[in-house]
Symmetry: C2
Subunit: 266 residues, 2 copies
């Protein structure tokens, strides 16, 4: 009989293969529950150190969980046989800070000087929320989480600067308090929320029009709760304007072989 | 040189003596910071078991930290030489559920069948909040904390039933999130809040008119945050109507020799 862990690892390997062969091209939210998913940023080596410093200065929005060797597209600390050129359902390509295309693999634009960064993702605590009876609305409604650009400034590092991107999940105050407790346990997945309540106070004008992802229903007596999001680097990349940068498309993440629960500090 | 702990124990002993000799008759909030303070309920033995069950069923509002032997007015597990008949600055006396008097000692109405209960108090986490830069407004303004009766029902036990009393402290959402994390560590001092935001949602009509204690300033962009309060039993006592019951007056607590930090679970 196979262990639960070996079953999970088979599922993550299968999903990465499906992504690699382009049979899965959609969002990864809710897939292989229990396996950590990550945000992806790929930069040339001469921009990588500045980005590493940006992550170090902004650990809540940019919690680093993996960095590749220069020119290497594997990521052995995060999973068996990962190929960073193929294993994300959709890549965004930025040139000089402008998103110029979206593509399903990056094999033909991979460079020998590239460094791949993987950042923790709030999907890692969604499973813990669900197990506590606090299933996020985006999971209930089977859509991508709502993401918004805010007026919360990151700490700049070299040429990287910009405001923080957040995910939003609505809860009643009572459930929000519990959600704060649960997500506090996951600092490498953005941890506790940055804000709740008034969207205007953090520069969001309309919750029904997310900058990325999908809008979700907000019920009477619920308040929006906002967590830092690993799409934050994409704002900083638009500002820093590196000649090339490749990221995941919001909600279409790298699926790793690491357990979400391995991120929990308690 | 005296240790910090022995200095603290001298301060708690001195304060209890000052209270015993009626030279301190006011609130105890903010006094001997670091020493745990407790809510007090004194009942005849034939009502005590039902009240014990009420506390067991409502551990957030009624976190028991001490119960005396029948007829004993000392409380050795909470402090040296405590005399429950004298060591609270102001007592309320309820007869048949009606508050009939307030007095500074209860020596002449003490009964040989009485049992004293001591319940944790949110003052125990106020020190931790202050140390985190989140000094409660009532401490800043040197007033008693605001307390309100809510529509949040307790779990009834025998003849004891009624709604929950809460304390209120205003914070910005960002600080409220941190305050939730900090107070979660103190389950025996009511732990995390029950609610934040709309007072109406928990049956409070006017934050400027607390049912007990004092009103505090609520600044722009702050939200009220509500924690369960050890005055909750006084509502249940009014409903249960025991022939006699003696409590502390809200904000005028038993000062113990136990460290607040001893209540922290993490």
């Amino acid at each position: 009989m196979k262990s639960a862990l070996s079953t999970l690892l088979q599922q993550t390997a299968d999903l990465r293969q499906a992504i690699r062969h382009k049979s899965h091209t959609g969002v990864t939210s809710g897939l292989v529950q229990g396996a950590m998913q990550g945000n992806v940023v790929i930069l040339p080596a001469d921009w990588a150190n500045e980005f590493l410093l940006f992550c170090q200065k902004n650990p809540v929005s940019c919690p680093l969980i993996g960095v590749s060797e220069v020119g290497r597209y594997d990521m052995p600390e995060l999973g068996h046989d990962i190929d960073m050129r193929h294993d994300i359902p959709e890549y965004y390509v930025y040139r000089d800070g402008v998103k110029v295309e979206s593509r399903s693999d990056i094999e033909d634009i991979w460079q020998d000087d590239m460094v791949a960064f993987v950042l923790g993702c709030s999907f890692s605590f969604e499973n813990a929320l669900s197990q506590a009876g606090l299933t996020p609305r985006n999971v209930e409604e089977a859509v991508n989480v709502s993401m918004f650009e805010t007026n919360i400034e990151t700490v700049p590092a070299g040429r990287f600067f910009g405001n923080t991107v957040v995910t939003m999940r609505p809860y009643t105050p009572k459930d929000a308090i519990r959600a704060i407790q649960i997500t506090t346990r996951f600092p490498k997945a953005h941890g506790a929320p940055l804000h709740f309540g008034s969207p205007q106070d953090i520069g969001i004008s309309d919750l029904s029009k997310p900058d990325y992802g999908d809008a979700v229903t907000i019920n009477d007596k619920e308040v929006p709760v906002f967590w830092a999001c690993g799409v934050t680097p994409q704002v900083a990349i638009r500002n820093a304007k590196p000649p090339i940068c490749i990221t995941h498309a919001p909600g279409k993440m790298l699926v790793t072989d690491i357990l979400d629960t391995a991120l929990a500090v308690l």
